[in-house]
């Protein structure tokens, strides 16, 4: 589960934040899906994602290359990536639709924006996974500023302590926004952490 529906933030700072997942259904259409995913990966590379990764290799922020991601696609492969531009997502969705590959595609983002992309590509979305929020001992959670960063990881791999340290490093002028965002992105192995959004959030908080 990529948890991409639970990204914290405001409408404003979630505006250019899209996670795209292309997933063959295990036991239904996963056979021979590798070649289809390689074609889609080539298109993603052409468009220029903000982040991309795989469970096998890690992400481009931790040193993996698109070539390695392609070569190490598993028997039940998946592609996950992040974009910071709705036009790129629209072009990717149109490409996948046109290819007729039959693989499932989910897009996470502001509901209205994802629906707009679907409308432009003449697609009727099938189903939606909504976040109804967080319950339980929420008083033990880190402050909201930190949650905006850590919830960009699909699997909870980014430590709140790391985020707090990197924010502090940026505030004290010991590190650039770009480097702090890159270091935050590295523990997220699936590639859905939006480093550009992290830079923008850091910039906002430092100011």
């Amino acid at each position: 589960m990529t948890h991409s529906l639970h990204r914290r933030g405001t409408r404003e700072n979630l505006k250019d934040d899209f996670v795209v997942l292309i997933t063959p259904a295990v036991g239904i259409n996963h056979n021979d899906s590798k070649d289809k995913l390689i074609k889609i990966l080539n298109k993603i590379l052409e468009l220029g994602p903000n982040n991309i990764g795989s469970y096998e290799t890690g992400t481009v922020y931790s040193g993996a290359t698109i070539q390695q991601i392609k070569e190490q696609l598993s028997e039940t492969p998946r592609v996950r990536c992040c974009f910071d531009n709705p036009d790129k997502v629209e072009e990717l969705v149109a490409f996948i639709k046109e290819s007729g590959c039959g693989l499932s595609v989910t897009v996470s983002g502001l509901i209205d924006d994802v629906k707009a992309i679907a409308a432009k590509t003449d697609i009727s979305p099938h189903s939606i996974n909504l976040s109804l929020g967080t319950f339980g001992k929420t008083e033990e959670l880190p402050e909201y500023v930190v949650l905006e960063f850590v919830t960009m990881c699909g699997h909870g791999m980014i430590s709140s302590k790391l985020v707090e340290k990197l924010i502090d490093d940026v505030v004290k002028g010991r590190m650039s926004f770009e480097k702090a965002a890159m270091l935050m992105a590295q523990p997220c192995v699936c590639g859905i952490f939006n480093a550009k959004r992290a830079e923008e959030l850091l910039d906002k908080y430092v100011r």
Binding site: N29, I128, L132, K137, H155, Q186
Partner: protein, 242 residues
Amino acid sequence: MLINTEKCKGCGICVPYCPVGAIKLEDKKAYIEIEECLECGTCGRNNIVKCPQNAIGETPDLYQRPRSIRKYFSDPMAYHVETRVPGRGTEEVKTNDVTGRVKKGEVGIGIEVGRPCLGTSYTEVEKITKALADIGITYEADNPLTSLMEDPITGTFIEDAKKSKVVSAIIEFTVPVSKMAKTLEVIKEVSKEINTVFSLDLITRLDSDGGIVVEEELRSLGFEFRPNAKINLGLGSPLREE
């Protein structure tokens, strides 16, 4: 995970990377609180933490129960033996257009216990599964969590699971829309008893205009959903229309 204290020079580079703060520094040596470590593997990834002494390695019993439960439910790079699906849950909405897991007239519920940030033990998860079992919930068979249940009818877990702490465990099931209100009420109530947090997901089909079928009912029950969500575009084949 373990730190070889012979090799460790106490630089502390690894300390902030642990999602649950299990890496400590004492007498210029880093060490891992074995009971707190969830085996997510982050500290051992040399391309991320870059321990200059290469001092971080795996726990010797990592792939044997009960320790392996931590690994498979915490490290996204580890594949579940039971489902061949990586990660902690099922393909949920990701392939719903092809699997038909959540059909028209139903809602899918996902309760990701331990997220964000806090992690969870299975004794906490069991508080929720037992409460839901009391209203007759049938758990998603393909979810790896269900395979750890001693009795899915009562929602209890095997002893090895109850000795385990993990980054998160996802309780998944589907109910008819007619049962949504009661189910959410039970979830809200049991949230007051747990010693961690959970993130709550609700999957529903979209109508032909893209409308969220249960939107009004959710609002009337006091549930507001976030403005961002995960949407299945319906490009999968063969498409499940029902």
